[in-house]
């Protein structure tokens, strides 16, 4: 009896353990090992790849840009998502408006990048502009702007494409949280004389905070690995490089497996703290319940 009790739990979790070690633990360990080896994984090079990752001038730019992405992409998607979730709740055409804002989610990221590359297209002054944005600019009397080339603003124009897609996602999740807040709370606040601004900051926002945190951390984890937009629109030229695009180049263009693994590790190390924060919050919430 005792023996069975000792073995049984292991048997139950065995499939999961096997799957996890095969698909998660083994590749991670292998990546760690490879990150200390050279381009063809033959000779041991110590921390050379890590030195490259943190000192190479393109990598420094990539770190800066990843920081820009984390800050502005997350900030804007969550803020816009929140504003839309709260405001659209009060209008009669809510479902139509939400559908339209959610629509870009249906477009693949590569597709969206191609679309926006056309929107940002540039032709020399005096020639017909094929890009929507420059068409508007020249119509208003300005001269065409090379949106994807002008540093450092080009980063923000690429980030905007990401925001365009992902705001809908944030809006939908936050809207669900908003609708879960008991209406009586707001009504009684109104009876007590609170204005809408006070209601938002004193009632709505605190009650939505756990959901906002989850959405924000999801966005951060997503955006740290950002790749598609940059790869398609500029491929990292004009100081728009990001870590994941560089990882792709090292892996498939330059066939430097060591550096590619190192960059994968760097991304992993950057993402782990965010994940830990997320998991801790889940636990705390469970404890409260």
């Amino acid at each position: 009896m005792i023996r069975a009790g000792k073995i049984k739990p292991w048997l139950y979790i065995a499939p999961v353990v096997v799957l996890l070690s095969f698909f998660l633990i083994y590749p991670s360990v292998k990546t760690v090992i490879l990150s200390f080896y050279g381009s063809n994984s033959q000779e041991f090079v110590g921390v050379k790849n890590y030195v490259f990752a943190f000192t190479n001038s393109t990598m420094v730019t990539a770190f800066r840009n990843n920081a820009l992405w984390v800050f502005f992409f997350t900030g804007l998607t969550v803020t816009f998502g929140l504003i839309l979730a709260v405001l659209l709740d009060r209008v009669p055409y809510e479902s139509v408006a939400k559908s339209v804002i959610f629509l870009p989610m249906a477009i693949s990221m590569v597709g969206a990048s191609v679309i926006w590359k056309f929107v940002y297209a540039w032709q020399p002054p005096g020639f017909p502009q094929i890009g929507l944005l420059n068409r508007v600019v020249t119509f208003l009397g300005g001269s065409p702007i090379a949106w994807l080339i002008e540093k450092p603003w080009n980063n923000f124009f690429i980030i905007f494409v990401g925001v365009w897609i992902w705001t809908g996602f944030c809006m939908v999740v936050l809207s669900a949280a908003y609708k879960n807040i008991p209406r009586q709370l707001m009504e009684s606040a109104r009876v007590d004389g609170a204005n809408e601004w006070q209601i938002f900051w004193r009632i709505t926002f605190p009650l939505m905070r756990p959901t906002i945190a989850v959405v924000a951390t999801t966005m951060i984890v997503f955006v740290l690995k950002i790749f598609d937009f940059v790869y398609v629109m500029t491929n990292g030229n004009y100081n728009t490089e990001v870590i994941a695009n560089r990882m792709y180049k090292e892996m498939f263009k330059f066939q430097h497996f060591g550096r590619a693994s190192t960059l994968a590790m760097v991304l992993l190390i950057l993402i782990v703290p965010v994940m830990i924060i997320n998991i801790r919050r889940f636990r705390r919430q469970r404890a409260i319940r």
Binding site: N56, T58, I149, F252, F254, Q255
Partner: protein, 420 residues
């Protein structure tokens, strides 16, 4: 008893027959992965058809696009490479040889190929690939009718080229169309410019030293070549759309500027392959009448007029008889005649007759290539990919977008230092 042995016999016959069928099927099948699409793919399939009819071997042609290196790396790692594949450049081929992924070939296959091309496809004396065709890069495309209209003459020296450019500007035109945009490969058209200028200002020996990284990127001769390129591409009057135009206009669209009314530009430096783009964009144009080529003039007299080029390299990944016979076929004059007839490419096999070329321009460039005293392979294709299709490409984009030349060259040098 009889029944039993009969059934054993039957099963045995079936098994052996099955095995034969399998081995037979394997022998009669070969797969090839290529970069080509559109017109080039059609031409290649036409070439392959002859092989299929002659040998009865079934060929699966798989077009994987410009990112073929990615696909091949993944499939080699996964132990599932195609039997034969087009390899983007000799540098990449060498990387596969280092990984022990390629099959070495018999010397007899490349019997009638020029020495220079056999060497390019060899590593340590063993042949690992064959050239299906070559492109000539040191060409300037122009519109003879527009030249005639303005009394412009084809320049024979760099001085004449500069004078012509200034004349065009004085007449209110723009001399050059340059397009550097090429998606994830943006910048490569600029590397061709630098290489052509390097050959003309530093000479072939210096060029080799530069490609092999025996001289540094910050060396004065390299610096001078970049500045020479910059004096054209960064001049708002010389290039359609100025530097921003060069950065944003796609390399394939750029050439169309020669044929607009009024022309957006008068000259376009690009390899032989651009003819297929011209025909695609303006099907009514007649080669030799509406568009023509001249060789990019020499800059420093002592270095003459060396030619820059590239080629379509094919290697075998699997050591099967079918793969070998396909390689043999692709190296032959028979295959190359069909292949070049369809496209503006130049055959590598010297037995291909000049009648094989579809138009006067291709015949002209084939003649230029065969008469070349000095021919050099595209340097960026020979450099380690971290430089040749990495920092060299991005360096071009950085330089044209206004970054300081010293810093650009130092960045490339740093990556070259690590990559060689």
């Amino acid at each position: 008893m009889l029944k039993k042995s009969l059934s054993v016999l039957l099963i045995g016959v079936l098994l052996i027959g099955g095995l034969f069928a399998i081995s037979f099927a394997q022998e009669k099948k070969v797969s090839i992965a290529v970069t080509w699409s559109g017109e080039e793919l059609q031409a290649f399939k036409k070439t392959i058809k002859i092989f299929e009819e002659e040998t009865g071997i079934d060929v699966t042609v798989e077009s994987v696009g410009r990112d073929i290196a990615t696909v091949l790396v993944t499939r080699v790692e996964g132990g599932n490479p195609p039997d034969v594949a087009a390899i983007p450049n000799p540098g990449q081929m060498e990387e596969f040889v280092k990984k022990d992924a390629l099959v070495s070939l018999d010397e007899s296959i490349v019997e009638s190929h020029p020495e220079a091309f056999v060497d390019l496809a060899s590593v340590d004396g063993d042949i690992y690939g064959i050239f299906l065709s070559a492109d000539l890069k040191s060409l300037v495309w122009y519109n003879p009718k527009e030249f005639e209209k303005h009394d412009y003459e084809v320049p024979e020296t760099w001085g004449e080229l500069t004078d012509l450019s200034d004349q065009i500007v004085a007449d209110g035109g723009t001399p050059w169309c340059i397009g550097l945009e090429s998606g994830p490969a943006s910048g490569w058209p600029g590397t061709d410019w630098i290489e052509d200028i390097m050959l003309r200002t530093a000479g072939p020996d210096m060029y080799d030293a530069w490609v092999n990284h025996d001289i540094e990127w910050t060396d004065a001769v390299v610096h001078r070549a970049w500045e020479k390129f910059g004096s054209i591409v960064k001049d708002r009057d010389y290039v359609f759309g100025g530097p921003t135009g060069a950065l944003t206009i796609n390399f394939g669209d750029s050439v169309a500027g020669l044929f607009t009314d009024p022309p957006r530009c008068y000259m376009h430096r690009q390899a032989t392959f651009i003819q297929s783009f011209i025909k695609d964009q303006n099907p009514d144009l007649v080669a030799g009448e509406d568009y023509d080529v001249f060789v990019l003039p020499s800059i420093d007299k002592e270095h003459g007029n060396p030619l820059l080029g590239a080629g379509d390299l094919v290697s075998a990944f699997n050591d099967t008889p079918a793969a070998h016979s396909l390689m043999e076929f692709l190296a032959s004059a028979e295959a190359q005649e069909v292949w070049v007839k369809e496209l503006g490419k130049l055959a590598v096999n010297t037995k291909v007759s000049s009648d094989a070329y579809p138009d006067p321009i291709t015949a002209k460039t084939a003649k230029i290539l065969s008469e070349a005293e000095i021919f050099r392979f595209d340097g960026s294709d020979l450099m380690p990919s971290a430089v040749g299709s990495g920092t060299f490409w991005t360096g071009i984009m950085d330089y044209v977008s206004g970054e300081d030349l010293e810093k650009v060259l130092k960045d490339i040098e740093r990556s070259a230092d690590e990559a060689y």
